[in-house]
Symmetry: C2
Subunit: 305 residues, 2 copies
């Protein structure tokens, strides 16, 4: 039996991961967030802890209490519109090192951390693990790339296994309201115009529930290394947003900006051979099904509000 | 007027750097080591501080006290025969991040950190900044490379300037006795056989006093980036050791091992165009003069012992 500790457990991905793990009942499940258990009905089979991992000493105390065999470390700065340049990125490297050092000292066996497609140089288009050039342009990109290098070196030094899930774009229930899909759905359901970019850029979007099963698959795998977490399919932002218009019956409210002076990277899509073929993961949602699910969830939120 | 803080100030490079800086009287000079000022006559014009930077909170307290405009951060794990794989490498990334975060928050203007030729993939031979492939093979290499990426990103984010001195091999007065040049001289002066490797591998050796002036030059420069610190000249270990034999008159005590089953990298030498041409640094010692200086220093140590 494994003892799993999930950090960032009240976050967008963390909440979805906890659903998968709590369902499975194969593990003793521990979750940590700054404030402990979220409000609302508790999830059966999960022990909550309150800790601010950015405060020196708290990670070590948490690990000493839980003694996890498996660590899924999702906590990081993620505030929309700010996380790319936030100085907290550096503090999260510090905090994550402390967490990993305590984890290995307590006999931890496997650590999986969350990375991001932002680690790649976006001029590449299709992003392939270990082959596509990396970017260190923003504090977020530099800190995530450095963190992965440190994780790999520490795992090799101390003999624990590791995974690094590079998440592409995502959406779904409980998405922060300032993110693309949530904000467009929010505007359309409120009967307000949805301001969108010109939208020809192609991106890789995956439903958060599928992101969660990918992380759980990676946590349970014996694979050491980086794994892209994406759909593997590119869709233009314009097409995605238009689908949301159709699903809500409010295509009339979509407003596309003129092409920007500095064009965005035309294509960013995950190569998912490793996730699908090596790890055997399959998504539950197609993009159309996933977006419909997201719209339904926001509709139910409005009705219960 | 600048306020300079030197960490690792009792170390091999740190002691030599302090000599240069104390001579100049252009700066308010502060030095830190775990135990504070070393025993012996104090160096005029230097304020010593005792702090264990690996303990959370101590770096921030030190910076609040000194408020340096210039930081020369040399402290790191360096124990001969152990530093490459020491788990403390990861703790030094953590500690250095805390130091840099406090430094920038206190208005620090320029930070220079010590890197190493071990960051390079040694199959390259002549190592050129930003061009030669890097290695993340050992904890030391991975941590130094990650630290440099973090420094560059933090400096860009917060608007301070930075330098990264990649030190090649070095020798000179006060070298730790288990390192190559010190141990060979020690054996020869004691009249004992000096066990050496086969010695055909070519390396780049620089006298520690020249390493120190290179760091001081880099600290005072306005150059942002990585700078190799080496002589730019390759010498075989056999030739270097033979010179030490001649200088001590004890060539008869040199013992060269047979070629190893796994040959060492045949050539590791610094490209020093950046250090010489961009920064205008010049060494004081040729290799022959430097080795003679080292032998004289060890002889004087034996006579005064």
């Amino acid at each position: 039996m494994s003892t799993v500790l999930v950090t960032g457990a009240t976050g967008f991905i963390g909440s979805a991961v906890l659903c998968c793990l709590a369902d499975s009942r194969r593990d003793a499940l521990h979750a940590v967030s700054r404030t402990g258990a979220p409000a609302g009905p508790g999830r059966a089979g999960c022990t909550w802890h309150a800790a601010d991992l950015l405060q020196p000493g708290q990670a070590a105390r948490l690990i000493a209490t839980v003694r996890p065999t498996h660590l899924l470390h999702l906590a990081w700065t993620a505030e929309p519109g700010r996380y790319l340049t936030a100085p907290e990125n550096f503090a999260w490297v510090r905090a994550s090192l402390e967490l990993l050092e305590a984890f290995q000292a307590a006999g931890g066996r496997r650590a999986v951390l969350a990375g991001s497609c932002i680690e790649y140089d976006w001029s590449a288009g299709r992003c392939v693990e270990e082959r596509t050039p990396l970017s260190y342009a923003s504090p977020y990109a530099a800190c995530k790339n450095a963190m992965r290098e440190l994780l790999a070196a520490m795992a090799a030094r101390h003999g624990f296994s590791w995974g690094w899930g590079r998440v592409f774009l995502l959406y779904g229930p409980r998405e922060p309201e300032r993110k693309l899909v949530a904000s467009v759905i929010g505007s359309l359901l409120a009967g307000q115009p949805a301001q969108c970019s010109e939208g020809s850029q192609q991106r890789d979007f995956l439903h958060v529930a599928d992101v969660a099963t990918a992380f759980v698959t990676l946590l349970r795998a014996e694979y050491d290394g980086i794994v892209n977490i994406g759909s593997g399919c590119a869709v233009s932002v314009r097409e995605l947003v238009t689908t949301l218009g159709r699903l809500t019956g409010r295509e009339d409210l979509l407003r596309f900006a003129p092409p920007p002076a500095t064009p965005e990277a035309p294509l960013v899509v995950a190569d998912t051979a490793r996730l699908r073929d090596t790890l055997g993961w399959r998504p539950r949602f197609t993009l159309a099904e996933g977006l419909a699910d997201a719209v339904r969830w926001w509709q139910s939120q409005r009705q219960s509000a």
